[in-house]
Amino acid sequence: MKYSAINLVRNAFSYHENWQKAWSSPELKKDYDVIIVGGGGHGLGTAYYLAKEFGVKNIALLEKGWIGGGNTGRNTTIIRSNYLWDESAALYNHAVNLWEGLSSELNFNVMFSQRGLYHLAHSVHDMQEITRRAYSNYLNGIDAEILNQDQVKKNIPHMNVNGRYPVLGAILQRRAGTARHDAVAWGYARAAENLGVDIIQNCEVTGIDVSNGIVTGLQTTKGSVNAKKVGLVPAGHSSVLANMAGFRLPISSVPLQALVSEPIKPILDCVIMSNTVHVYVSQSDKGELVVGAGSDSYNSYSQRGSFDMIEHIMGPLTELFPIFSRLKMLRQWGGIVDVTPDRSPIIGKTPIENLFINCGWGTGGFKATPGSAHVFAETVAKGEPNKIAAPFSIERHFSGALVDEAAAAAVAH
């Protein structure tokens, strides 16, 4: 049944008893044309686009827990495309373009809210950095505005622009914003299932069957299954799955944390990022301040970070927003992020034929979800990298053709 205001009212008369399942829980079949491993936004989206745009019929998506339970359901949902390098700009902007139509496309309100993102500059060096980024964005056709201190102050009245590191200016992307993370997973799942994708939850992949260098199927906690092609989208556990297939990835997995405050009435209507003071904050529709913390400096698969990362952002947060000091932190959590040396993702083929991988999104892949899923679906369907995806092959880590967003800006989200 289509989701709409009218149907909502109509269903109110039948006490909402006639809504169907958003997605069901089918049994795992014996054979699939394509199996996607990992039920985060990227995996679910891949399954959806495979079915929708690339005509693949017999698809399964395997998720070891509940869909969206990985980083998709744990992130601070910052979406933007104002990346420095051309390759990244193309990829993330492809995503933002898709975000703009995603709620209608999926008939599920993912609440993509283009409330604008301010990336603050606190020093002459920061100003140089944002100016450069703005120029690069401009010539790549991505919206970017450089604001001075007064303009920032006017738009964000509660921010302290004269603190320890005064806010000298900001780069503003108006098309940037946030979205409702769970809805992205659920919306893709519902739409994918409508197109016949089997979404199998509580099904952990425990082995990858390879014969003569070609993938043939998977071992799972629900039994073994044959597959003509397999796409791995397991985020924090990418190295674990690569290991099952017998190859290595240049990825370290570390816990990244976030927290929310108690809900309060609207006080911040845009997204704020500051690398120098280390603050990432926005306010959710529920009224909670959503705050990104740092990642632990050691590798771990435990979905919980250390307290000091939380502690370390509270000073910066109250420095930038002194009025937040009396508010209460409600909840903290962590996710395992898959970080590559150049902080850019890996999308493409693997040393095993018909086995593809999409990972390495690290601390900032939520924003890419529809774009990543779309280019990866094409890559899996055609067996060759999509044009936007091509620069993000594993090979770049051998050739040195890195897309080094980290060194360029040290941006986390």
Binding site: Y3, A5, N7, L8, V9, A12, Y15, H16, Q20, K21, A22, S24, S25, G69, E100, S103, S104, N109, M111, S123, V124, Q128, T131, Y135, S136, Y138, L139, G141, R164, Y165, R180, W186, G187, S261, E262, P263, I264, K265, K286, G287, R304, F307, M314, G315, L317, T318, E319, P322, F324, S325, R326, L327, K328, M329, L330, R331, Q332, S399, G400, A407
Partner: protein, 1002 residues
Amino acid sequence: MSNQNRIYKGGRIDRDLAINFKFNGKEYIGYQGDTLASALLANDVHLIGRSFKYHRPRGILTSGSEEPNALVQLGLGARTEPNMRATEIEIYEGLEASSQNCWPSVNFDIGSINNFLSRVFPAGFYYKTFMWPPSLWLFYEHFIRKAAGLGVAPTVKNPDRYEQKFHYCDILVVGGGASGLMSALAAGRSGCDVLLIDEKPEPGGYLRNTSAKIDNLNSNDWTNEILKELESYDNVTILNRTAVMGYYDYNYLTALQKVTNHLPYLSDKMPRERYWRIRAKKVILAQGAFERPLVFSGNDRPGIMLASAARTYLNQFGVLPGKSVILFTNNDHAYGTAIDFANKGAKVTIVDNREDIPSELSDRCNKVKIKIYPSHSIINTHGYQKIKKVEIQKVDQDNNELTGSLREIECDLVLMSGGWNPSVQLFSQSRGKLEYHSKLNSFIPKDLIKNQKVVGCNNGNFNLLEVLKNSYQAGLDFATELGKSANKSLEIETAFEDLEFTEAKVEPYMIGKKKVTHGSKHFVDFQHDVTAADIFLAQREGYISVEHTKRYTTTGMGTDQGKTSNVNALALMSHIHNKPVDNIGHTTFRPPYSPQTIGAIAGRNVDHLFDPERKTAIHQWHVDNGAEFEDVGQWKRPHYFPQKNENIHDAVNRECRAVRNSLGILDASTLGKIDLQGPDVAKFLNLIYTNAWSKLEVGSCRYGLMCNEHGMVFDDGVTTRISENRYHMTTTTGGAARVMSWLEEFLQTEWLDMEVFCTSVTEQWTVLSISGPNSREFLSSLADVDISKEAFPFMKMKEGKVCGIDARIFRISFTGELSFEINVPSRYGLFVWNEFMKHGKKYDITPYGTESMHVLRAEKGFIIVGQDTDGSVTPKDINMDWIVSKKKEDFLGKRSFSRSDTRRIDRKQLVGLLVNDKKTVLPEGSYVVDEAKPRPPMDMIGHVSSSYYSPTCDHPIALSLIKNGLNRMGDVVKIPLMSGKVIDATITDSIFYDKEGARNNE
């Protein structure tokens, strides 16, 4: 009438100390010892706030930190605090609080229209609508946002102070109820270092509220005796008003202590709160349990509260919150509350959904004239702003159907009890595993982590005598493990609760007048207005994992984090899926246990203590002489020194000319400086830098580039050999800490056999860089060493006295002029600077800042790492292949130079750019194209990394990284500005001045 619900005596309040406070602008009187909730109930105020989604009137549900409903806006102005639990706020003279999430008032709230529309607003309705047209989402969202949220944030800076404390102890006992007191007592008697923490103003917990007897003492007196003994031990610390918030790895716990929250704002001497970080050898969790609400139709009205909470108000605060009382229960224990109320003169009726009521209970009830309706259920409630009436009916237990006649009972208070849930939040945070306890019908700790015990109700034990004994034993056991023992055993013989908690079913929901899914309001999560129907809907729509149900319905996501709702939600899911609750699982409990103040976690890491500024020894001089500063890393550096009406350009031009023509002086103290010692330093430098270091003689300096493993430039600086095994390394100002960790990382993880010791000495040395054609002549009169051209060539270092102070003099240059860098111990820095300024008058010595430094070096084509490089640039790309050793076997970055992309010959390379109009200073960061199109997108070939007006050349200069740039000298390229204007520029060499380097060798 004031305090009309207060009983004449009893409780732990001081009736001689009246306290005036305001709620919603109205004045009330309470007593010392009251919470805001108890004082309001004493004044018969039940309506406290409005719920999150439907804006339904809400009252007080609990008496503690689990309160989901009675949230208020506390205090005014800068000290206002949203979402404070009235059940935890201790009143003080002058307290002001108000209802939140309502407009214009809590009595008449426009938002409650949502309640009437609630049928179209089931769980997750927003996922199904507001999608058309897409462009209007921001518009819809605006209203959604306005309706959401609870209280309001202050709009000015917090005037209060928060402190932090680190604490180490043998045994941390969390919770000061019967069990916690016993564990602490045993541990305290054994001489262990004990920290006992309780979130209430005083320990005692449940013992403060019952009529239990322990060895013939009533529980209150007994508790006081125990406390007295505990307080007599030096090795025992008791923290009240303190909630343990987080339980992290290896018994690392955090706690928030309210220090002055319960006092009027008297002075700034005391912090408001104190944040504790505790590392405990052993942890005993003794947090007790929370009572479960019952899920029945209309269970949320003001005047409906948990039975145990009502008992607390009665026995601890002397408040009888109602006189016609209905108790709705499914267990024996709650009868204790009913009997207490009846004894205090209330008319009590019990609605028990069980068929068989133990005769002992009914006999006792008969005695105090309590009427019991067995097998009955409350099927509906009435009263908008306060409960007025309930409808009850008999339930046919076999078919779960209503039978018999419907009865209406007038009342002014409804108490409910659905059993107890052990407080397992912290245990679960510690990664202990839970199991479902079939008698309790709740989760209890199963697999403990190391060095942890859980005692009392927290562990599912509700027998008082057993709890006392086992908890004492737990304390003894831990003491023994720590090598200590108590010389006293527990002497308790008897402990009676008048009514023990035996067991209670967990009720998915109570049958109501309307079908549970048909518009009936059976609330599961009060704060978020999640009803049983919402849980049904989530299951129907496939959100059947507990996490999906939670996220879809938002149950358990309120500020109480599900303390009152989680187990009921699970019971409902278990009912719907017809699976035992243990198969449903539970959601993850995440820190903190209770909402905790952001400012308290920040502690003193605020204001001037937030990332303290680093200043050089000369800083005050710079201030006194009108310097404009810039932040470079943590340092404050003079950016330029404007004189009179000079703007930045005038100042910089003047400063640059002074350097080129006579003498300039720069405070270069912020440069990173690392003292390297040990027999293997040369070997180490060979691996860290790209060039060769083996042959560097004592007293010689060498410039070096550091690359990361990808072969990309990472930092640069001059390193000097001071003596045989001692080197002095300099780094960029901003990169100093990074380089230091980089060196240590390799020494500690890769090259363990090397004997090299790194010490940061940045702060130890003041560095005065003097530059200009007159610098030698100037210095020679102040230094006691021969600095003549012959005796002191370029890239050498000499030790001697300058202005009578021991100094290291380096003959190096970052301006291209003849320069000396004089390092003196920082305590003499200002002295030497002043001497220089005095003696330099003759040469018109001119202090210059970072901006001039940048211009001067750019004129010479010297790079600044981080400005002209960005992590994607190799030494070759910046035309510095000469510094990359072709002979060395290995160094960091070397293998990467052979990678196909790094080897590419058309990489972006550092070149100069001269604008064709000779006027425009290109914006730094602008991009270069071969072909300018009318509008973006355009293909970029590079960007402008540095750009200045050069006073020396008298035209603008720029450095730029351009694709294949070194092979494109003389080509004209275009720089499209954001304004639409396009500027032409010509690619040139990156050195604009004194290409031969003659001036430096003067």
